[in-house]
């Protein structure tokens, strides 16, 4: 497959890092997710697409602990972590910060940066869960604390470099152009050292040129940090060329899954999502 630039084949990419079984989510009478099964394997880029209101963001919210799913099992397989648990950890209803600590970091569909902090500081927040200075350490500021602080700054700057924001490191997040804000969110998520990166419409609001750059960036990051990526996106050009596998969701159900080619030829997907003359 020409679009798969890494040549890493989805089928034998490795063991699962996230497995979702039979997850449903109800809002009052509305069934936003219905018996969803999704797997993400080590090193894969998996895309989740579907019409507006299909339940994609809700799915992210369930995985990251913002909502507790009404039914089903979500299991994560962190690659390391203090107690190494190869058989996975059940994360339904786990607190959001613990999910992140476990190694699943996300970006938001509606950008949620810390607007009056600089780009660098935004990324430094991502380092929070990987550092440990307490009150006493902060007040006394011993050599250990200083070393840790230095390391936080260095690592954070490194992340900014990875997403191409090194020039804007000292700008307040609120003053960054939209595209830069999206990339900053990715850098912040990367700083938490995740094994799975969850991106919610990263290319929204970008022009085709910028979208292309973004795609290249995701590829580089995946290589370098050995992360898996779960991606929600409406830009089909990006989705089709970037992902190893695609899940298509409609009305809270997975209606189709497979390689980009398989999915884009599925009549159900064309009807529900892509439209007949899919040149988008």
């Amino acid at each position: 497959m020409a679009q798969n630039p890494t040549g890493m084949n989805g089928q034998n990419a490795g063991q699962a890092v996230l497995s979702v079984r039979n997850v449903s989510m109800n809002f009052g009478g509305l069934r936003a997710l219905s018996e969803v099964d999704v797997d993400v394997r080590q090193g894969e880029v998996v895309a989740l697409i579907g019409p507006n209101g299909a339940g994609k963001t809700t799915f992210f919210n369930c995985i990251t602990g913002i909502y507790t799913p009404s039914e089903g099992e979500i299991t994560a397989y962190p690659k390391s972590g203090k107690p190494k648990r190869a058989d996975g950890i059940r994360i339904n209803g786990m607190r959001t910060n613990l999910v992140c600590e476990l190694g699943m970091a996300r970006t938001f569909q509606n950008i949620r940066l810390f607007p009056s902090m600089t780009a660098l500081e935004n990324v430094m927040i991502g380092r929070h869960c990987r550092t440990s200075t307490g009150i006493l350490g902060a007040v006394l500021r011993g050599p250990g604390t200083r070393r840790e602080e230095q390391e936080v700054v260095d690592k954070s700057f490194e992340m900014l470099t990875k997403v191409g924001l090194e020039k804007l490191a000292n700008e307040y997040a609120r003053n960054l152009p939209y595209g830069a804000q999206r990339r900053l969110e990715i850098a912040r998520a990367l700083a938490t050292e995740p094994f799975l990166l969850l991106l919610d419409e990263p290319a929204a609001g970008m022009n085709p040129q910028e979208t292309e750059e973004l795609k290249q960036m995701v590829i580089r990051i995946r290589e370098e940090f050995k992360v898996s990526v779960l991606l929600i996106e409406h830009d089909m050009k990006m989705v089709m060329s970037l992902s190893d596998r695609i899940y298509v969701m409609e009305y809270g159900r997975i209606i189709s899954t497979g390689t980009p080619k398989e999915v884009s030829e599925d009549p159900q997907v064309i009807r529900a999502y892509l439209g007949e003359d899919s040149d988008a």
Binding site: T57, N61, I66, F108, Q109, N110, R112
Partner: protein
């Protein structure tokens, strides 16, 4: 059982006093998210205006009911003017300021108004004339409820219903709700936000004035400091019911009234406020947006 009913009605009348003040409080809060500490002072000024009008008209020998009516009207007009002016001076310049700035300015305004009344009038308690006539048929139940209690309960219910309709169905009401949720977007659909906020203050202050006159007539005395405690209680009631919710303000007031009444009756009045506040804490822990408040729709 009789004792229980006595406490129940006692709590009802006390609660409706809180509710009446909380209605204005919750309106202002709903629109500009400002804990308006000066609201209690507007209530107090309303009571003073009522006293002054009543005093002047009594010397002229007018009948009681017409005095009550005129006192209410004048006091509403003046309090509305005060509310409007306070907003213009202390809050409007702070629209784009950090969130806590208007809060402090409100506290300053509250101190200012209290001392203004204290100096212009008197620090002493002043007797407030019994403007609410005793209705003969209430004698039978006077053990539970007096005429003025009835008056206040009725007024808060009427005001609650009227306000609910106003907010829900009138143009201005819609504009208020839109302003409350997103000021920028409200402008973009053509809402004159400044005007909406002014109107909100005017309505809130008018309600405070109605409360001021009725409650003063019920209690029988006023001084410059009555607004403070009233303000705190009204604030508590408004939060208990869910800030911004009109029926919530009334329910919150009643629940607060009952909590205090039953705590006094069955435990000890030493701790009535303790129980009232504990109830508040417990309710908020289980319903973080108050009894009738809607959890702000938040989607990530």
């Amino acid at each position: 059982m009789e004792y229980f009913l006595q406490l129940f009605f006692g709590g009802l009348s006390r609660g409706s006093v809180y509710a009446l003040i909380a209605l204005g409080y919750t309106m202002v809060y709903g629109i500009i998210e400002l804990i308006n500490f000066a609201h209690g002072e507007i209530y107090m000024i309303g009571a003073f205006m009522g006293l002054i009008v009543a005093g002047v008209l009594t010397t002229l020998g007018w009948p009681v009911l017409s005095i009550l009516a005129i006192a209410l009207v004048v006091s509403v007009l003046y309090s509305a003017a005060y509310g409007y002016t306070v907003e213009k001076i202390a809050y409007k310049p702070l629209r784009s300021a950090p969130r806590l700035a208007p809060l402090i300015s409100a506290i300053g305004m509250s101190i200012l108004l209290q001392n203004y009344i204290m100096l212009a009038q008197t620090p002493d308690f002043l007797p407030f004339p019994r403007l609410i006539p005793e209705l003969a048929f209430m004698d039978a139940v006077s053990n539970y409820l007096g005429t003025s209690d009835l008056f206040i309960i009725a007024t808060s219910l009427v005001v609650m219903i009227a306000l609910t309709f106003f907010i829900k169905f009138t143009r201005m009401g819609k504009a208020m709700r839109a302003t409350a949720q997103n000021r920028k977007m409200a402008m973009l659909v053509g809402v004159n936000v400044d005007q909406v906020i002014s109107v909100t203050f005017i309505i809130g202050s008018s309600l405070a004035a109605v409360g001021g006159v009725l409650i003063a007539a019920h209690v029988g005395q006023i001084n410059f400091a009555i607004g403070f405690l009233a303000g705190i209680k009204a604030f508590t009631a408004a939060v208990l019911g869910g800030i911004g919710s009109i029926p919530g303000a009334v329910l919150g007031g009643l629940v607060l009234g009952w909590a205090e009444s039953f705590a006094t009756g069955y435990i000890s009045s030493d701790y009535e406020d303790v129980f009232a506040f504990l109830l508040l804490v417990v309710i908020l822990i289980f319903r973080p947006a108050g009894l009738l408040g809607k959890q702000r729709a938040q989607k990530v």
